[in-house]
Amino acid sequence: MAGTDLRAQLNNFIKAMHDQGILDEHFEHVKGLQNEYNPYFVLEIVSIFCRDAENVIAEVTKFLDEPVVDYVKTIGLVHQLRGGSSSLGGSRMAIACRELRQATQDNKKEECLQALEKVKREFSTLHEKLNVISQMERTILTNEGSMVQCIPSGSIY
C-alpha cells in the first residue's frame, strides 16, 4: 500500500542519515514521541529546531564579525545551538558546535570563524535532510487522513 511504501522510504532515508552520522539514535527517541495524540510532533520539532538554529547562527556570525568579540555571549549562543542539535539527534552538527566552543576557549577569532563555517555546513546538510523528512511526514499524514488545516497551538505539549 502507498502509505506503507512511504513509511518504508522514510525509514530508509533516516537510516541513511544514521549511516552518514548526520543523525544519531536520539532522533529515534524524538520520533518515538509522535503518536496519535501528537501526530505532528516531528514536524513541529524540526520547525522549531531549524528556526532557532538559523537565528542563533546569525547571531554568532554577528558577534564574531565584531572587531572586539564578546566571547561570553558567543559561548552562551554556542551552548544553545549544541543543546538543540543534540536534543534533536543532529550528531554531526552537535560535534561541530563542540569544536566551535573549543575554539572560543582560546579567544582566537580565526579559529572560531573556521569552526563556525563548519557549523554552518553541518546545519545546511542537516536542514536539507530534515526538510525531506518533513515533506515525507506531511505526505504520510495527508494519506492517513490526519492532516487538518490548522495545527492547534500548543498541540505538542
Binding site: H29, G32, L33, I48, F49, R82, R101
Partner: protein, 151 residues
C-alpha cells in the same frame, strides 16, 4: 520506531498506567506514580526532555526559569526527579538547585549541560545536585535512575 531499551518488554496494545505506549516498544511502568520537573529555557530541549521523561513513565511538568520552578515548589508541588539546565536566564541552574535544597527539597536533582567540559559540574555539585549529564536526556540513562527511585 524507538530503539529497544535494556529491560523493556515488547509492545502490547494497552492504555493502562501512566505511560504512553509506542508501537514497537513499551516504555517502563512503575510501582509508584513518579513525578518529574524539567527546568530548561530552550523550547526544543524543554519539549523533548519533557517528552522523554513522559515516555519513561514520569508524569512531568516543564518550566522555563529557575524562578518558575521555585515558585512551583513553594506552592506545594512535589517531584521525584528534577532536571535543571545549567544556563537559565536569570537564576542559574546551580542557583536554582541550591534554592531548592534550602527549601528542603529532597528530590533527585539532575544538572543538565548543553556542552560539558571537565570541571563544569563543580558549581552544580556544590549546589547539591545528585548527578549531572550532558544533553541529550536519553531513556537509556534515565531508566536505571527511575528504577532506583521506584524501589
Amino acid at each position: 520506531m524507538a530503539p529497544a531499551i535494556e529491560g523493556m518488554v515488547p509492545a502490547i496494545e494497552s492504555s493502562e498506567g501512566n505511560n504512553k505506549m509506542n508501537k514497537g516498544y513499551q516504555y517502563p511502568s512503575w510501582k509508584k506514580k513518579l513525578r518529574g520537573l524539567v527546568v530548561d529555557n530552550e523550547e526544543l530541549c524543554r519539549i523533548v526532555e519533557k517528552g522523554i521523561m513522559g515516555l519513561c513513565g514520569v508524569e512531568t511538568q516543564a518550566v522555563e526559569t529557575g524562578e518558575a520552578a521555585v515558585e512551583l515548589i513553594a506552592s506545594g508541588a512535589t517531584f521525584d526527579i528534577i532536571v535543571i539546565d545549567r544556563f537559565l536566564p536569570s537564576m542559574t541552574g546551580p542557583e536554582t538547585a541550591r534554592k531548592m535544597r534550602e527549601m528542603g527539597v529532597e528530590s533527585k536533582i539532575i544538572g543538565l549541560f548543553a556542552l560539558y567540559f571537565e570541571g563544569d559540574e563543580e558549581e552544580f555539585v556544590a549546589a547539591g545536585v545528585d548527578d549531572f549529564k550532558e544533553k541529550p536526556l536519553s531513556p537509556n540513562w534515565l531508566v536505571p535512575m527511575l528504577r532506583e527511585l521506584d524501589n
